[in-house]
Symmetry: C2
Subunit: 138 residues, 2 copies
Amino acid sequence: MDVNGAIEKRVREAGLRPTRQRIALASLLFAKGDRHLSAEELHEEAVAAGVPVSLATVYNSLHQFTEAGLLRILAVEGSKTYFDTNTSDHHHFFIEGENKVFDIDPGAVKVLNLPEPPEGLEIANVDIVVRLRPKRVR
Amino acid sequence: MDVNGAIEKRVREAGLRPTRQRIALASLLFAKGDRHLSAEELHEEAVAAGVPVSLATVYNSLHQFTEAGLLRILAVEGSKTYFDTNTSDHHHFFIEGENKVFDIDPGAVKVLNLPEPPEGLEIANVDIVVRLRPKRVR
DNA sequence: TTTTTTGCAAACGTTTTGCACACAT
DNA sequence: ATGTGTGCAAAACGTTTGCAAAAAA
């Protein structure tokens, strides 16, 4: 298949062996645009799709993909770790209570006057999380 | 004592009984300016200071102080929750690897063009985390 | 005395690890 | 054949909870 061929190439180019599990996970992750997933969610999707990976393998793969630059870890509070399939510079809305994350229109936000980092350190990246809550009715 | 009297007043005004443990923890937290601490770290400090609180009590107190508006929860990735004694609007540097947090000069940063939140939601707050890493030598 | 708080140990949910077996090369 | 990757179950980690004993009101 064409799509799976592309996914396989992508996995291989990340320096990882294109195993059945990794290809299945990568397909779920990268097939349909930007996604924000926890390991648990991806595991459920995989199982539902008829690919019975173990949760441990999902964690392994997510971290391997992250190291390879295919994913980004999302910095939101809460117990779960979220992985973002969009690795380019962009920021997030976070809905309190629901633990839902989605992208802020990338063109929109601008940060001004970022201070210089202390001696010997450089900026790895800038994460903006805009926390949202239900609007109060008044 | 004067300092402890002030701390006690602060705890009491938060609607909490000024117990030995809460006063000790509040002293450690609020005595010396802005701090960013995990529960574990505060627990160690307390024990080192000769106040053998239990870790459970540290967690309880931190959450009670947070509800009372004396602390803010810090949203940096990673497994640990950090509490910030500075509850005013400001942002953070985060040193990767070291899990260290410190404030960005509050006057400095400005965010432009924040998009409107979706219907029915309002912005609770905006958190900026500037992740730092050791500068590469070249 | 009544109510709140504490401390312990056990429970919890998420993530990581050790190791035998299976798979990709 | 060799080296990786996988799956399971167990361990680890930070955090929360239930409950009896202790302290504050």
